[in-house]
């Protein structure tokens, strides 16, 4: 079976994938989960390409789908884990250490609350505008601005503390 290629999609995919994947990784903190969810999201974007390419932000669309996929997977894992704890004698552990850049800024972002982390990932890694971040997160633009402001403030504190630790 031959599949007709869409040059528009191909170009968008090559350009958009790394940024979306990185943003999902930073927001989720699990590189494997992010990789799978992002791949699924881009396949779905191709299925719905006629709609996605005309979306206000195709990046926001694919990010939203990826995060829905993450939630679905985590929900399934959570149900399985709880059930296994009840019915199996073995202790249950499932988490591989996330593969993340070894950088204080990246680590600091990873310690932010989920909403702040996600907003930072979308704004500064996926490079979405505040309006696009609002669309992807399903929150008001003003809330995005406030969340980013608080997050930047907190990051400033965290990195200052980090530098003090190293200089003392």
């Amino acid at each position: 079976m031959t599949t007709e290629r869409d040059a528009d999609f191909d170009g968008w995919y090559v350009q958009a994938y790394p940024r979306v994947r990185a943003a999902v990784t930073l927001a989720v903190g699990d590189a494997d989960l992010a990789e799978e969810a992002t791949a699924e999201a881009f396949a779905r974007a191709l299925v719905h390409w006629s709609k996605v390419k005309d979306a206000t932000s195709s990046h926001a669309w694919v990010y939203t789908v990826a995060m829905n996929q993450v939630r679905s997977t985590l929900r399934r894992r959570g149900v399985e884990r709880r059930w296994l704890r009840r019915h199996a004698n073995e202790p249950v552990v499932h988490q591989r250490p996330p593969v993340e850049p070894d950088d204080p800024l990246w680590r600091a972002v990873g310690q932010l609350p989920r909403r702040a982390r996600t907003a930072i990932a979308l704004r500064y890694v996926a490079d979405l505008s505040e309006a696009e971040v609002a669309e992807a997160m399903g929150i008001a633009r003003g809330t995005v601005a406030a969340t980013l402001h608080q997050a930047r403030k907190r990051l400033g504190e965290m990195l200052a503390d980090n530098e003090e630790e190293w200089t003392q």
Partner: protein, 201 residues
Amino acid sequence: MTALDEERLSELRQLVPPVLGPPLNDVYGRAARLRRTRNAYRAAGAIGAVAAAALVFTVGVGNVRGHSPAAPAAQPELACDTAVETSPLPVWARGGFTPPDQSIAHVTGSKGDIVGVLFGGLHAPAGGDQANKILWVASVAGGAGDPDLKIHATLNGSDLGVDRVVTGGPGPSTIDVPQAGCWTFNLSWSGHQEQVAVPFS
């Protein structure tokens, strides 16, 4: 305390390894599978709507519902002789197991997209303290359509059939059947379809 400036935050982008996505052929292949499952689900929509409207009753742990047999589709029967395998699960099914590569009794779907992990033997009719626990783990998450895992089970060599629903899709379940023997389970969830043989003693 001064908020971190935007220029510093833009460094996050530089920290991201320059990862390439899956090859475009893979993306197109995955999209084609999504379209097929979506179309299959739509085609089965009428049957699914009838099945969903059927009277259901709660059995087992409460997340599994069963109802009177619907008109069974003509499906081949699978043999139970080698259906249960005690070995490490496929890598994608090991989440939650410690150690992940431990040998554990399980049955595998005919397409290899789902496994049913067995905790103890399966008995029919169910009784006493022994519940027929099966943990369904699918390699394909999400997809088009109803996420619930629907099971149409038929006893090989007979007209006996039962239907069960695992709410929310593949996951923990207690599946009881009325009679011992080799059962062929026809599974469907989120547009995916699989078959698996399950022996009940």
